[in-house]
């Protein structure tokens, strides 16, 4: 890259980042001024607070999403997945490989179209199926969109619980699935690949483009993610904002309280086939929680929606038999249900 361009990039970064932080910091005051002074809405009315809530949450989440996606892009530029594969295949890790795989799944930006090449790449490298599953469980569950939405709507504690338990579930789930000897349920051609798997060389092929030259593309990709989910964020938060103002307190408590034990499995089973965009559904769930649904039940439902989905199952069909997909989904569903009860018990 030419020097002028590089300087311009550094300049716009050093101006843009503080501007974003300032905007985030003063956002509530700005939005208050906009809705109550400029638009002249009444801060005591349902409508006024709903509009305020809508603008504040939407902008906040978009800032978070942009920052988190860009950050993940940067991390991935330094630790590409190939590096993990080399690491997992060349070292004795004494069980830690499940931890690495699950963590990596969390920080890798998830794209469903990459999950099959990833899966096969792992199998080809001779990585055990259980470790691959650890990655496969966490990767969609803890993704940039879900994390940004949780941070914006539920605060950092709930986000930490969600992401942390997601990673732990990946580790434990991968470990247990690994013990079942499931390799025989892989698709035929994958089994052949597995038989011919070879250990990776010590080094992975490094990208030849210097990091600074890749930065604009990384930031652009962060922006692309924002613009792709923008409409879902707006719709989700609009519905949430509307419900927030008009649904009475404790409205859901009657039906979905923690005392009703069957609420949990029902919530999870309803969530598995759903492929709602995390961006669209988390704002709605947030209102459910505000109106009396226990947080554990809501978290379990979200995990089922985000982590497991029918489109994912059909993708996995290319590499697994239905039986294996069933075992995979069944195990994770049971885990999520147990986690949900645990959340309700502790929180």
């Amino acid at each position: 890259m030419e020097k002028i361009k590089k300087n311009r990039l550094i300049l716009s970064l050093s101006a843009g980042l503080p501007a974003l932080i300032l905007l985030y910091h003063f956002l509530q005051r700005l939005v208050n001024y906009f809705t109550y002074n400029l638009l002249g809405l009444n801060p005591d009315s349902h409508f006024g607070t709903s509009v305020n809530f809508f603008f504040y949450d939407t902008i906040k989440i978009l800032i978070l999403l942009f920052v988190i996606s860009s950050l993940m892009g940067v991390i991935n530029a330094y630790f590409p997945i190939e590096r993990l594969r080399v690491y997992l295949t060349t070292r004795k890790l004494f069980g830690l490989q499940y931890v690495f795989a699950s963590f990596f799944g969390a920080i890798t930006p998830f794209c469903s179209c990459s999950s099959i090449p990833l899966f096969i790449g792992f199998v080809k490298g001779g990585i055990p199926l259980g470790v691959t599953f650890a990655f496969l469980i966490t990767s969609p569950l803890v993704n940039e969109v879900a994390v940004a939405m949780f941070l914006g709507l539920f605060g950092w504690k709930t986000t930490l619980i969600y992401a942390g338990s997601g990673i732990v579930m990946g580790i434990v789930g991968g470990f247990i699935l690994g013990k079942f000897n499931l390799d025989r349920y892989l698709s035929h051609w994958v089994k052949e690949l597995q038989a011919n798997s070879e250990k990776e060389a010590e080094n992975w092929e490094k990208e030849k483009t210097p990091f600074i030259d890749r930065l604009p593309a990384i930031i652009k990709e962060g922006w692309d993610i924002v613009s792709k989910v923008l409409i879902y964020v707006i719709i989700g938060i609009a519905i949430g904002a509307a419900m927030h103002g008009y649904v009475p307190e404790n409205f859901f408590a009657k039906y979905l309280s923690a005392e009703r034990w069957y609420a949990m499995p029902l919530a999870v089973l309803a969530g598995v086939p759903m492929y709602a965009n995390a961006a669209g559904i988390i704002p709605v769930i947030q209102v459910f929680v505000a109106k009396g649904v226990p947080l554990g039940t809501a978290l379990a439902f979200m995990m089922a929606v985000v982590g497991l989905s029918l489109p994912e199952a059909t993708l996995l069909k290319k590499v697994m038999t239905w039986k294996l997909i069933g075992i995979f989904f069944g195990t994770i569903s049971i885990f999520i249900i147990i986690l949900g009860y645990l959340f309700n018990w502790i929180l």
Binding site: M1, G73, N76, P80, I81, E82, R85, C111, S112, C113, S114, I116, P117, L118, I120, G121, F122, K124, W189, L193, E205, E207, K208, T209, D213, R214, P216, A217, I218, K220, E221, K318
Partner: protein, 82 residues
């Protein structure tokens, strides 16, 4: 020059193909561009993240869409290609 774009058909793969075609046309690069969608064939290149860009049989970019500037550098100067 022989350019291949590896991708199972996700939106990102399509935008990489579009960007590559643009850069090739704009800079009058003599190249044939093929899109590889078959997963078995993609795996022969040993990439785990799509889309990927292959120039003369060598993977030069994987798992991301480079900017048009970077693409131009890759395809004209060949400075990043060994």
């Amino acid at each position: 020059m022989e350019i291949k774009i590896l991708g199972t058909g996700c939106p990102k793969c399509k935008s990489l193909e579009k960007a590559t075609r643009e850069v090739v046309a704009q800079n009058n690069i003599d190249a044939t561009i093929t899109k590889v969608e078959d997963i078995m064939e993609i795996m022969n290149f040993n990439v785990m993240t799509t889309p990927a860009l292959v120039v003369n049989g060598k993977v030069v970019v994987k798992g991301r869409i480079p900017s048009n500037d970077e693409l131009k550098q890759i395809l004209t100067n060949k400075i990043y290609i060994i």
